[in-house]
């Protein structure tokens, strides 16, 4: 898919995320918006995953380690036809499938495992990738983490493990939007130099602007070509990207927009395409 098309899809996903959150009345817009391009390009141009092969043993796997940004995943899964678009209105509602954090027992195509407690996804990705190696299959495994999440010790157990097992079928993506609940990541507990840390643990590291679709697209392609070690895509992003009053404001980590704010946000996103 061309970059111009991905840009239009990204805008549409952003709008879906905000509409879902406004209807839900709670949830996490900041980190959802920072990961839009990373997921839109992954699902549309790289992953062997679609509504028809979502149960096949040859599919690629995605694990949303930062489970709180599931609105963006649900929106992308709706865009590729795995979730009915109208179901997005049921986010966080009782009896629904679209839980506040992804739930495996709700049987949504593309939700491979329940996540939401930070620091666990990469280990799961290591396990799936190790399993694919044992089966001699070439499926790829993608894990999206946050930058604040890198503060969890369990992340580093998995960071150490993946290169040891030579899991070149594993690609970790770190969405570095620079903010966490209490403020700036660098102020709360600095994780930098994060790229150097992954490099020193034996990873192939690619640093990109996570909103530049061309860079994102090239990074996933390069990751596939790397042999013998896993790849970490360190993506510099903006929390709340695309909505002026949400950008770089930690307070929008876990707060839904009201109707008025939604209207303004949708207008801004539409204008960005002009």
């Amino acid at each position: 898919m061309e970059i111009a098309d991905l840009k239009i899809i990204s805008a549409s996903v952003r709008k879906d995320v905000l509409k879902m959150l406004q209807k839900a009345g709670s949830g996490h817009p900041g980190g959802s918006l920072s990961a839009v391009e990373l997921l839109v390009d992954l699902y549309n141009n790289h992953m062997n995953f679609n509504k028809d092969n979502c149960q096949d043993k040859n599919r690629d796997y995605f694990v949303l380690s930062k489970g709180h940004v599931c609105p963006v995943l649900y929106a992308v899964l709706a865009q590729i036809g795995c979730i009915p678009k109208e179901e997005l209105d049921t986010l966080r509602k009782i009896g629904g499938r679209l839980q506040g954090h992804p739930a495996m027992d709700k049987h949504i195509p593309g939700i491979e495992i329940s996540t939401g407690s930070l620091g666990y996804g990469l280990s799961i990705g290591v396990g799936i990738a190790k399993g694919m190696k044992a089966l001699k299959q070439d499926n790829r495994v993608y894990v999206l983490m946050g930058d604040g999440e890198q503060q969890e010790g369990s992340v580093w157990e998995a960071v150490m493990c993946a290169p040891h097992f030579k899991l070149d079928n594993l690609c970790a993506i770190v969405d570095c939007n620079g903010l966490q609940i209490d403020g700036k990541v660098e102020d709360i507990l600095n994780i930098n130099p994060i790229a150097d840390k992954y490099r020193s643990f034996g990873w192939n590291v690619i640093e990109i602007d996570g909103h530049n679709l061309k860079e994102v697209d090239e990074a996933y392609s390069k990751a596939k070509q790397c042999k013998g070690k896993p790849t970490a895509i360190i993506a510099k992003t903006v929390k709340g990207k695309g909505v002026s009053f949400m950008e770089n404001v930690a307070d929008w980590h876990g707060k839904a927009p009201n109707a008025e704010q939604l209207e303004q946000a949708l207008k801004e996103i539409d204008e960005s395409l002009k």
């Binding site: 495992i113 666990y120 280990s123 799961i124 799936i128 399993g131």
Partner: protein
């Protein structure tokens, strides 16, 4: 006399079970965490190196990798010392494995006081409590080597997460190949209607010894081996409560929240009768010889006898 067919640690039953499973099922994958030979999974490692991985001293990753392998279609077994297999990665077991109802089997070795000289840090006394409270989890505490092997093999084909608790020290073998084993079904080891002693793990042997002592004093005790703590055999417990009118539970584990508590939940809701609990009474262990520790912390046959006499006074 209590029939004893040998003396060997239950951990070897787990190891033997895995090798047998590995031969007939290529979906069995085993993960270790630097304690591979001491938890007796080195036999599997040797025979099936392509379906084995050592993740090092990293137990949270151990359970996470197992979860991933289950997503990939394998039936992963992990094993390390019980404290590190259940406590350290507890939230991973809860949120990643149980919530997703993944087919991960956890072998908690080195359970109980009988770990001995290593002391309290390594004496797992809480796993039953912290595993049985998790939805979807099955908890097995086999009584000897033969039963541990059966439990291990049954766990492989029991859907969802399973925790199997076993030990390091040699314990008497009191069951045979043809002794029935079914997850969720208690085994009646001795008939009797005056009192029922319900036990799991190493305490089944002590309970049989206690029943012999009691018999000489004219008290006929029923002994139930309740190897499955969850889902517990309600029918056998209710039947025993009605038939015997008094119950003593015995476990090499903390009393609070453990096996006895699981029995009590069934008893009070269905057929309340007086109960006494033999177990570790809200304390940590210490270094010492296994046999000495069992005496010091009140887990011998005579302690069960005392508990029976106490409960009979309340009958």
């Amino acid at each position: 006399m209590v029939k004893v067919f040998g003396n060997k640690a239950t951990r070897f039953g787990f190891g033997e079970g895995l090798v047998e499973l590995g031969k007939k099922d290529n979906k069995i994958f085993v993960l270790g965490a630097d304690t591979v030979s001491s938890v007796a999974i080195n036999g599997f490692q040797k025979e099936f190196p392509d379906r084995f991985a050592n993740v090092g001293i990293a137990e949270v990753n151990l359970l996470g990798v197992a979860a991933g392998l289950a997503v990939a279609g394998f039936t992963p077994f992990v094993s390390t010392y019980g404290v590190f297999a259940s406590g350290r990665p507890w939230e991973q077991i809860r949120t990643t494995i149980c919530y997703s109802n993944l087919n991960v089997k956890i072998g908690g070795s080195h359970s109980g006081l009988m770990v001995g000289p290593d002391g309290a840090t390594h004496q797992a006394l809480e796993e039953i409590s912290i595993m049985r409270c998790l939805p979807h989890m099955t908890v097995l505490v086999p009584c000897d080597l033969v039963e541990t092997k059966k439990a291990t093999m049954a766990a492989a084909y029991h859907n969802g997460p399973v925790y199997i608790r076993y030990g390091r020290e040699n314990v008497p073998i009191i069951t045979e190949e043809n002794t029935p084993f079914e997850i969720g079904k208690a085994v009646k080891m001795k008939e009797g209607n005056d009192v029922c002693i319900m036990a799991c793990g190493s305490m089944v042997y002590e309970s049989l010894m206690a029943a012999e002592i009691l018999e000489k004093e004219g008290i006929k005790a029923r002994v139930l081996n309740i190897h499955t703590i969850k889902p517990i055999d309600k029918q056998a417990i209710i039947e025993a409560a009605k038939d015997c009118g008094a119950i003593v539970t015995a476990e090499e584990h903390q009393i609070f929240g453990g096996f006895g508590s699981a029995v009590a939940e069934v008893v009070v809701a269905n057929s309340p009768v007086p109960m006494e609990f033999v177990g570790v009474n809200d304390t940590f262990g210490e270094s010492g010889k296994p046999a000495d520790l069992i005496v010091k912390y009140g887990l011998k046959d005579i302690n069960i006898v005392e508990a029976v006499k106490k409960v009979l006074k309340r009958k």
